[in-house]
């Protein structure tokens, strides 16, 4: 497939590290940082982590302590600063009038579903009682404070959680204020005053956090290892020795307030680890590439990866490699003395470093909020003492690696249910766990949550005059529409074909087959201007500079391999300096006679789209609506610059799209650029339709966990302001929908006596949605292996008064409109277009594409 396989491989690059943990967390009080970089402090010996739940200003509060066997866990757990991954406390639904009563849709047929959620059951009238504890005379040491307090098992009881000031109990003490007296070993009498400050309902944020701590503790009791945010089982790893990979099975868990219940959502997670150190990896790479390219290749492969240190359980992101340093370099310790890395690791961890000439890795700790401008220096890591985790870009694009991995990590709905069930079973069987849960008056449902969803009607595909039905189960109409006329075609009068001596055969095969397949779809084609170049990138560029004119409609390059630098150079030139649609084809994709026709057809369709042609459409009943898609690409190499792709529809059938992109440097807000894009899109819409759209619907992808608040508070007001600035009388309706693909939520359909993937078009807007949001899930795509992932849609702003049912249907319809795939995809087409655009710009072009291309799908 032309660029498809490649694009997919590329499209995945790096953006998938959802399990990336917050790294480099040190103690709450950062040690005075020396000027020189230093290895991370031996934080094991120090206090790590501090919860959000800090409550009253306590001197040296060390996190909440939970009774009997749970003490060693503080609310901060580990990770130091904890982001609000679940976007709690963002209540957008109340502001959207027409969904306050109901946010559920109505159309479609019902379907019996299960999901990987378990209800948390608390006994009736359950509450968590929060007390404030005072000592007179004052006692400083937390340990002593707690020892003194718990001398009084009467009236406090055995079950409690205490952080030095705040005390949580599962029961209410007789009086609002309780006074007890304790005696220290020195014979001092201390009065302790316990005052009730709060009665927390099971749904309070504090309680939710409390449940999560208890549950994480259970996972530790199960002997699972924490890596990043999740817990993994090191005891039966799956090894894939031919790639030196090790897969640890594990779980993601979170307990949250859902529509009607507090539930535990748990999914199987797989952690890919490597049984080689960064140094081993460097050695292997050194043997594979030429000396002069070694450093560059090394940086490319390693930067952005997460490494795990040998001597403590911490993960770090590699931000740079310092080739001028080595383990013999020294750094200043906090006590002021100088020590070399070799000696430090020998002394602190008894770790021997054998290669004294290896470079060192540099990791920039993430900026931490709440610490008054204290910037912690970079963390220096020794390659020999770091294990690699996750996959490199090269591995991701290596088909055999991914295939070998998929065998182990892709689970069918039945397998997934089984694995998740094992966890919940353990919770029920383990005595310690049960005892603790019981003491707090909590338990978990044994069964997966079951409920009813809906499957909306399948969409018909309109192409030219014809209407096509297809099997909705497979969500694919490539067979039905093959070789039939398209909605609109662009003739190919003047086009170039670049090839090398080695790809000549492939190039002529391509031309022959294009002539065979284009008449059926209605594309008129002249012979290409054939240009032979040699393998070097400069040769391609020279040919382009000489031969591409303003009349050139399209350039096709047949490449002998998928070397990225050549591809990047061609794309960069043809997207910026000399704006011309282009199509790169790797010769090998044309090598199989049995598929060559299909490949040529796909290339022809893609070429047509790039020149502004249209393929198919679905019925869109809403009139005068402009759909916007936004997605981000994070450029890990270029100083973590982010690129937002912005795509907006231009016509009723959603077959033409306008595009722009925004560059965002580190620390810069995205919104300013988006305003410019929206203004430009409105102008383009006006010139296409001679009037302004009356509705604008924005699908916003690329929103990280915990960023929802920023979006609601900044981005949405900016959109509104931008619309206001257009004119006094212009008052379009606006809807903003946050699209999320990376979820732990799974749905299983009860069909044919077993659990299967829900069919495409399954909509879920009950039970697992959040009460404070106007949100829903859609399973739009169909997968052949494993379990399908639903997509989550969260309408954060909506003054359109569009019924939830219509919003859901429209969203589903848009998943049919991505022209690089004759089937239904996971997200609305504008999001996928925006992703493709941002990816092309971020990976290859690194500059804003020429605006003259903005009304075509040149980035496909």
């Amino acid at each position: 497939m032309t660029g498809r396989a490649r694009a997919r491989a590329r499209g995945r690059a790096r953006s998938q590290q959802s399990a990336v943990p917050p790294v480099g967390a040190t103690s709450g009080q950062p040690p005075p940082r020396p000027l020189q970089p230093q290895p991370e402090p031996p934080a094991e010996g120090k206090l790590v982590g501090r919860g959000r739940l800090r409550g009253a200003a306590v001197p040296k509060s060390q996190g909440l302590e939970i009774s009997a066997g749970f003490q060693e866990l503080s609310l901060g757990d580990r990770g130091g600063h904890r982001r609000d991954f679940h976007d709690l406390g963002v209540n957008t639904r109340q502001a959207i009038e027409h969904v306050r009563e109901s946010k559920t849709g109505t159309s479609g047929t019902t379907i019996r579903l299960s999901t990987n959620h378990f209800r948390l059951i608390s006994r009736p009238q359950w509450a968590l009682y929060q007390y404030h504890v005072d000592y007179n005379p004052q006692v400083e040491a937390r340990r002593l404070r707690s020892a003194l307090l718990f001398q009084h098992e009467q009236p406090i009881g055995k079950t409690h959680a205490f952080d030095g000031t705040m005390l949580f109990l599962p029961k209410k003490l007789e009086n609002k204020v309780t006074e007890v007296f304790s005696r220290t070993r020195n014979g001092e009498n201390i009065k302790i005053t316990i005052t009730l400050t709060n009665e927390l309902p099971p749904t309070s944020p504090t309680c939710l956090q409390f449940y999560n701590i208890i549950f994480r503790r259970l996972l530790k009791l199960m002997n699972l290892q924490q890596i990043g945010r999740n817990y993994y089982n090191p005891n039966d790893p799956i090894s894939i020795p031919n790639h030196r990979l090790m897969v640890w099975p594990g779980f993601t868990t979170s307990i949250l307030q859902y529509e009607t219940n507090i539930m535990l959502c748990t999914d199987v997670s797989h952690k890919v680890l490597r049984s080689e150190t960064v140094l081993d990896f460097m050695y292997t790479l050194y043997q594979q590439v030429e000396e002069q390219r070694f450093r560059e290749t090394c940086a490319k492969e390693l930067i952005g990866l997460i490494v795990l240190t040998k001597y403590n359980n911490k993960t770090y992101r590699v931000d740079d490699i310092d080739w001028d340093s080595n383990p013999k370099c020294t750094f200043r310790k906090t006590d002021g003395s100088e020590i070399s890395f070799v000696d430090y690791y020998k002394m602190q961890y008894n770790q021997d470093i054998t290669d004294l000439n290896q470079p060192v890795l540099v990791s920039q700790p993430k900026r931490r909020r709440g610490l008054e401008g204290v910037s912690s220096g970079p963390v220096i890591l020794i390659p020999e003492l770091c294990y690699l985790t996750g996959l490199t870009d090269k591995m991701r694009s290596d088909f055999s690696v991914m295939k070998d991995l998929a065998v182990h990590t892709r689970l069918t709905p039945e397998q997934r249910k089984h694995e998740v069930g094992r966890l919940i079973e353990y919770v029920h069987k383990d005595d310690n766990v049960q005892k603790e849960l019981c003491a707090w008056g909590l338990s978990f449902d044994l069964n997966l949550l079951s409920f009813t969803g809906r499957v909306v009607q399948a969409e018909k595909i309109h192409q030219a005059e014809k209407v096509f039905d297809y099997n909705p189960q497979f969500a694919d109409w490539s067979k039905e529409t093959r070789g039939t006329p398209l909605i609109s075609v662009k003739p190919l009068d003047n086009w170039l074909l670049l090839y090398t001596r080695r790809t000549y055969d492939a190039a002529s095969t391509l031309v022959q087959n294009l002539f065979k397949v284009t008449p059926a779809v209605g594309i008129l084609m002249n012979k290409a201007i054939m240009i032979e170049v040699d393998e070097r990138t400069e040769s391609y560029l020279r040919a382009l500079q000489q031969k591409v004119t303003s009349d050139t409609q399209l350039v096709v390059c047949v490449l002998s391999n998928n070397r990225k630098d050549k591809y990047d150079a061609i794309k960069k030139y043809l997207c910026t300096d000399c704006p011309t649609p282009s199509q790169c084809v790797v010769a090998r994709t044309l090598s199989k006679p049995q598929t060559v026709m299909a490949v040529a057809t796909n290339i022809a369709l893609q070429m047509n789209c790039k020149m502004g042609g249209e393929l198919w459409s679905v019925q869109i009943p809403l009139k005068q609506v402009m759909i916007v898609g936004i997605d981000c690409y994070h450029d890990t190499a270029a100083g973590r610059r982010s690129i937002a792709g912005f795509v907006a529809s231009l016509n009723q059938g959603m077959t033409r799209w306008f595009s722009r992109c925004v560059f965002q440097d580190r620390g810069q807000e995205l919104v300013d650029g988006l305003k410019v894009c929206l203004q430009a899109a409105l102008r383009a819409w006006f010139s296409f339709n001679n009037h302004m759209p009356s509705r604008i619907i924005v699908y916003r992808d690329g929103v990280g966990d915990g960023q929802l608040k920023t979006l609601v508070n900044y981005e949405v007001p900016q959109f509104l302001e931008c619309l206001k600035s257009v004119g006094k009388d212009y008052n379009p309706r606006l809807s903003v929908i946050v699209v999320k693909k990376r979820l732990n939520t799974r749905f299983f359909a009860h069909m044919g006596g077993r659990l299967q993937n829900p069919p495409p078009g399954t909509v879920i807007d009950v039970e697992v949605t959040r009460p404070e949001w106007y949100d829903f899930f859609i399973v739009s795509q169909s997968v052949r292996n494993g379990s399908v992932s639903p997509t989550h849609y969260n309408v954060i702003y909506d003054n359109s008064a569009l019924k939830p049912d219509h919003m859901q249907r429209l969203t589903y319809k848009l998943c049919h409109m991505y022209y690089n795939w004759p089937g239904i995809i996971r997200v609305p087409a504008p999001c996928q277009y925006a992703h493709k655009l941002a990816f092309l710009v971020g990976q290859s072009i690194h500059r804003e594409p020429n605006l003259s291309l903005s009304d075509r799908l040149f980035y496909l």
Partner: protein, 345 residues
Amino acid sequence: MVADLGCADCTLLWMLKFCKCIEVLAGLDIRENVMKEKMHRLSPLPGDYLQPSERSLTVSLHHGSVAHKDPCMLGFDLVTCIELIEHLEATELEMFPEVVFGFMAPSMVVISTPNSEFNPLLPGVTLFRHSDHKFEWDRAQFESWAIHAATHYDYTVEFTGLGIPPPGTEDVGFCTQIGVFMRNHPKNGETVSSEKHTKHAYKTVFKAVYPSLKDEKYLQNAVVNEVIFGAEIIKRRLLGNFKSERKKHNETKLKFQPFKCCMRCSTNLSLAETEKCAADRSTEPFVDGNKVCIPLAKIFLIPKVNQLCGTFEKLNKLIAGKVALNSDGSAVIVTVENENEEQEY
């Protein structure tokens, strides 16, 4: 084998776990909660699983008093009691020498305790350094106690300390005084067996067994992984050569039949060459159809494999049933995948 009595938050144990010579670590404390607070840092790390170490290591934590005997404390080489004895009540202190020197009887005991002569130099210290201290001894008191205990249980004791006093006050001695006790008599097997019947007085609150190559399961895993990865590398190298040769042939318009047989063993070789070939076959990998055969002898030469297995027999034993071998079990078989299979999204 090292035991830390009064291990508190396990900091010393955590430091000791990095010592490669220690195979058993045990901690004992009377305060279970303090011990549990940070006990998880004594658990194996992901890295310990990724490359299991040569040595075996078991770490356990017990809840109990040093005034009680428990057989789980037998057989240790070193027992440390860092800033412990001053926390003991008089009755417990009385029992202490019998439990440590008499019952546990390790080859070496290290006991540290505050030196009260140093106290005037510490600002804010009135009576004792810590509110839980039952006593603080001067050098003479500690030394007399230590010598008495040592003599009684046939140990030799030497004194040292930590924390040098500021100039001009050298005569107060170290801030903390330390007694290092060495057992005079060799290990006495009888005592151990006679004490076997002692009842368990401690409660085990934590136990972690580190993955180690001494454990057959981890050794086998490590060997199998190295063998398969090594075979993969050899395969790639071989096919890389093979392909480039093929390409050369193609370019010179020589019709060549790929993947027919071992390239070397074509029919019209002279006898000498055939013999050489046969000799080669025992260590040289070759292509057979869509398979690559890599003789175990060759695999055994991989340094990591060699080091892990030690002997060829051991290699054979460890990979049996875990790695695909040819019919006579003399070579590893790696299947060559059809590269064209890829590209299907």
